[in-house]
């Protein structure tokens, strides 16, 4: 209640100060008038009355001040005064101010940017209801090295029939569909989902409805749910879209509703959802369904996992021919979505924290130097009555001003950084959600204040501690106390130590990235001369394999006839990482050890000119040609690694192998050749044994068209596109680009992280250099006289140089040694990010030490040269 009275008074005191003061004057004058009237009424003359009144109000000035104090706005006035004073002080030393603000802007900006990424990916809740209760369910075939693979329809139905831990189990599978009749034919990334999928995730459509029970039964009317983006793109945001039909793969489908454009279980490209039809399976394959389920209340993920393992054992018992050591592992949805990126983000967050710490210790260092220079001012203020608390408050105001200015600039840097990350950065989960938002700004504010406390408090305490008398003594030099000097040296050592950490971190990533760039891809065609386009002959015009094969043969003939084309072929799997599928294999006469299977490996189906197009060497025998066309997959070509693994010292030509599990009755294929190894599982990935099949005996509806150009392949793209359209304008094409682009894209994440770490390390190095320079330069100024004496006594310029550089060198040496020891303990966390090198890579450690040593020497050399040029006569006369 009384706040209703207090608040207007406070506001008035703050913002209408003149009015309030005039009011006080009026009130006192009114008092005087009444007193005079009173005295006259008591029988005095007006003159006497006035004198008495004035006497009674003796000390009126003090009273006024007391009245003002009653307004309790002194803290505000003091703050305003402190800020004004701080601004003046900072303006007087622009060099210091700019240095401190820039250091803080870099430190705080980097933290803000990384925080906005961490916030979007790790902290902000997923758009599902209670995402931690949602799990994905997989098939795991340890024998074939498949940790979390899709399940078969039979497995999925077994889960539904037996599992009791879940409210419901839904399934989804990624694929693509072709939509015709809406302009050009469109190939669209899609998902097939069971009818309860959206309900299990608790995602609502923005228009219409999603699937209802029964839509996934065999024979149900074909239905489709589209994404908001597709709705805008193909249907011009038609508000009456629900109920309309559209041709999907040549068949009319009814559109039920519109879903939000992306949610984390669908890839960013997914634009349509169709029902995953629950056709009763005739066998335990193929494997294409991923399960998603919500845990029942009170059931933990561990309990559910235990139940699923029991079910896996039962399924395996019932189907001993199909499964060996089957498991149905679970993974929580947040874990599945964030996955491996968490570790990288935490490492980056740690790295930027180090950068901020270096910036903070740098500013603390500058402030200590500044406090020393201001000892006289501090002395004067203490001797005219400023309390220590008041002085500390003044210093902290300056620190906060610096920090907030740095923080504001940092937010700008972060805005640019985040914008750049979103446009040119690698693909990251939830990338579209990365923004500088209110949470980020709150974080920035918090670290700005924390930084100000860290770098400001100690110098403020140290500075205000000086006894006033001493600093005012005549002739007292602005001498740095020994503790200040030691403290600054410790801060510099800390900066160097932390810089070593960052340099080594960056060095390890750079070396990994360089090694990655030097990986032999296995193909020798210049990557920029190879064009890759995903072509999909699907639809009513391609009802069977013959029609598809005819399409490919016609297209290849036309492409090969184009001017500028050296060779053209097709493949389902292409380097560096576009593996369409993997499969197990059996070698005739060389079975895997009892109870085990050979692992699933890439088995590319390729055209006859595959080797010529990519420049892959033929090591033995021959490659596919027209002779092999008629046969039903009866020949194969194996990779060098497979030949070495299974036929050491033997000639594999003429031996036979076959697809799949040992229990399957697949036909054997004769090995006709051995080719060089090619990277199919990413440059970072292993080089597994590979066996090729001939496309000529089995073209697929989804294949890459590979075109080797005589020059730059991207120039060929328009004419290749024209040929594809000329054969059949209804065929969608996608992902057109050069092999060089694919290679670059495949290492986007390693490139991104090594780039970021390099930026952080560079900033750290720069700050550390400034720190060393500052301390050494300052001590040269302090020791001018001493150096003068030494030179007068015969020390040479070289001696002085050695003296001064030695000082910086000592600090650097301590810092580097501490840094190397610390880094050796810490870099283990980066093991997963490294390629072909160990976390304790000696080359990197040595390079970091050398770089820091050089920078430290250079930073101390400048002041050292100045010291060596000191004229002893001038130096001594100055005293």
């Amino acid at each position: 209640m009384r706040w209703l009275y207090i608040l207007p008074l406070r506001l008035r005191s703050l913002f209408r100060r003149a009015e309030v003061d005039a009011d006080l004057e009026d009130e006192l004058r009114s008092h005087l008038d009444h007193r005079i009237a009173h005295e006259i009424a008591a029988g005095r003359t007006p003159a006497e009355a006035r004198q008495a009144a004035r006497g009674a109000l003796f000390g009126i000035a003090q009273r006024k001040e007391q009245c003002r104090d009653a307004r309790r706005t002194a803290w505000f006035d003091d703050t305003v005064r402190d800020i004004r004073y701080a601004l003046r002080a900072l303006k007087r030393t622009p060099g210091f101010t700019i240095a401190a603000c820039s250091a803080l802007a870099l430190g705080i900006g980097a933290n803000t940017a990384v925080f906005s990424v961490v916030n979007a990916i790790l902290l902000r809740p997923l758009p599902f209801h209670d995402p931690h209760r949602l799990v994905l369910i997989f098939d795991s075939f340890q024998q074939q090295g498949i940790e979390r693979g899709p399940a078969s329809m039979a497995d999925f139905l077994d889960w539904r029939a037996r599992a009791r831990s879940f409210q419901s189990i839904e399934g989804f599978s990624n694929g693509s569909i072709t939509i015709t009749g809406q302009g050009d034919a469109q190939q669209i990334a899609s998902q097939r989902v069971t009818s309860g999928f959206f309900d299990a995730l608790a995602i609502r459509p923005i228009l219409g409805r999603t699937f209802s029970a029964g839509d996934d039964h065999p024979g149900a009317a074909p239905t489709l749910v589209i994404s908001e983006r597709l709705w805008l793109r193909l249907f011009s945001a038609d508000p009456a879209i629900s109920g309309k039909t559209v041709a999907v793969n040549g068949q009319p489908h009814t559109i039920l509703g519109v879903m939000p454009s992306s949610f984390p279980l669908a890839s960013a490209q997914t634009e349509a959802w169709a029902p995953l039809t629950l056709t009763p399976p005739t066998r335990r394959g193929p494997f294409f369904i991923r399960g998603v389920a919500r845990l029942k209340p009170g059931v933990s993920i561990e309990q559910a996992a235990a139940e699923m393992n029991t079910i896996a054992a039962l399924v395996e018992q019932a189907n001993p021919k199909d499964y060996i050591r089957l498991r149905f592992p679970l993974q929580s949805i947040p874990e599945a979505i964030v996955g491996d990126i968490r570790q990288l983000l935490l490492i980056l967050a740690g790295a930027v924290m180090l950068v901020l710490l270096i910036a903070v210790s740098n500013v603390a260092n500058l402030l200590l130097a500044r406090a020393t220079a201001r000892q006289r001012e501090i002395g004067i203020r203490l001797s005219i009555g400023a309390s220590r608390g008041r002085l500390i408050r003044q210093f902290m105001t300056e620190s906060l001003l610096l920090s907030f200015t740095g923080g504001a600039a940092g937010v700008l840097l972060a805005y640019w950084g985040v914008a750049a990350l979103r446009t040119i950065g690698p693909s990251l989960p939830r990338k579209s959600e990365i923004v500088v938002d209110a949470n980020t700004l709150a974080f920035t504010l918090a670290i700005s204040i924390l930084s100000a406390l860290l770098f400001g408090l100690f110098p403020a305490l140290a500075a205000s501690n000086s006894r006033c008398g001493e600093n005012l003594k005549d002739g007292a030099r602005a001498g740095e106390s020994r503790t200040h000097g030691r403290l600054r040296a410790i801060l510099v050592v800390a900066q160097i130590t932390l810089s070593v950490f960052l340099l080594i971190g960056a060095g390890l990533l750079i070396r990994s990235f360089n090694l990655l760039g030097r990986v032999d891809t296995g193909f020798h065609a210049p990557p920029s001369s190879v064009l890759t386009v995903l072509v999909t002959p699907i639809g009513t015009r391609y009802p069977n394999r013959d029609a598809v094969a005819a399409y490919w043969r016609q297209l290849l003939l036309r492409i090969q006839a184009l001017p500028g084309v050296e060779a053209a072929t097709v493949a389902v799997t292409i380097p560096p990482n576009r593996v369409a599928y993997t499969d197990g294999y059996q070698i005739e006469g060389k079975p895997a050890p009892p109870g085990t299977e050979y692992p699933a490996v890439p088995c590319p189906v390729v055209g006859a000119d595959y080797l010529k197009t990519l420049g892959i060497p033929l090591l033995r025998g021959r490659f596919f040609d027209s002779r092999d066309r008629g046969g039903e997959r009866d020949v194969t070509v194996i990779s060098e690694t497979m030949a070495r693994m299974h036929f050491p010292g033997e000639n594999p030509i003429g031996r036979r192998l076959k697809h799949g599990h040992s229990s399957l009755n697949n036909p054997y294929m004769e090995i006709i050749g051995v080719v060089g190894d090619v990277k199919y599982q990413g440059l970072e990935g292993e080089t597994p044994p590979v066996y090729y099949e001939y496309a000529g005996s089995g073209y697929s509806s989804v294949m890459w068209l590979l075109v080797r150009a005589k020059g730059d392949a991207s120039a060929l793209l328009p004419s290749v596109r024209a040929e594809i359209r000329a054969v059949d304008p209804a065929i969608p094409i996608a992902r057109a680009g050069t092999m060089a682009e694919a290679l670059s894209e495949s290492v986007a994440l390693p490139r991104f992280r090594s780039l970021l770490m390099t930026v952080f390390a560079t900033v750290a190095l720069l700050l550390a250099a400034i720190g060393i320079y500052g301390v050494v330069a300052y001590s040269v100024t302090q020791r001018t006289q001493e150096i003068g004496v030494r030179m007068a006594l015969g020390a040479s310029g070289a001696n002085v140089l050695q003296l001064v550089v030695g000082q910086g060198g000592r600090l650097a040496l301590i810092g580097v040694v501490l840094g190397l020891i610390g880094a050796a303990a810490v870099t283990k966390v980066m093991k997963k990010l490294l390629f072909q090198i160990e976390p304790a890579d000696t080359t990197t450690f040595a390079a970091a030490a050398v770089v820091l040593g050089t920078v430290a020497l250079a930073a101390s050399l400048l002041p050292a040269l100045r010291a060596a040029r000191i004229n002893p006569v001038v130096a001594l006369r100055n005293e």
């Binding site: 706040w3 009275y5 008092h31 008038d33 009237a37 009674a56 003090q62 007391q66």
Partner: protein
């Protein structure tokens, strides 16, 4: 008790609130009334009233308003706020407990 500094600060506040509880008044009148009521025992110097008044006002116990005084001059009249009235009751009760305790102690016979 001649100087206001001898008055316990809290006591001055209590007296001012009590006077304002009777009727709204301006600073000079409050001073006069203090003197009258206490039978000239309490003398509060002219200036010392105002810091106390302003503090009470800033605390929200009393509120002020410019009006014309009985002498036909403009004066700032103070009156109790509802919270101020409750505050006065509580403070009076406290004071009575304290003073009766003190009186009780003072009346103890010395052995």
């Amino acid at each position: 008790m001649s100087k206001p500094s001898d008055l316990v600060q809290g006591t001055l506040y209590l007296l001012i609130l009590k006077i304002l509880a009777l009727e709204p008044a301006h600073g000079f009148a409050i001073g006069q009334r203090l003197q009258q009521i206490s039978g000239e025992i309490l003398h509060v110097s002219d200036g010392s009233l105002y810091p106390a008044l302003h503090k009470l006002e800033q605390d929200g116990w009393i509120t002020a308003e410019w009006k014309t005084s009985e002498l036909g001059r403009r004066a700032k009249f103070y009156s109790l706020t509802p919270d101020g009235r409750r505050y006065l009751e509580k403070e009076s009760a406290d004071w009575e407990r304290l003073s009766s305790a003190i009186s009780h102690i003072i009346r103890l016979k010395e052995v």
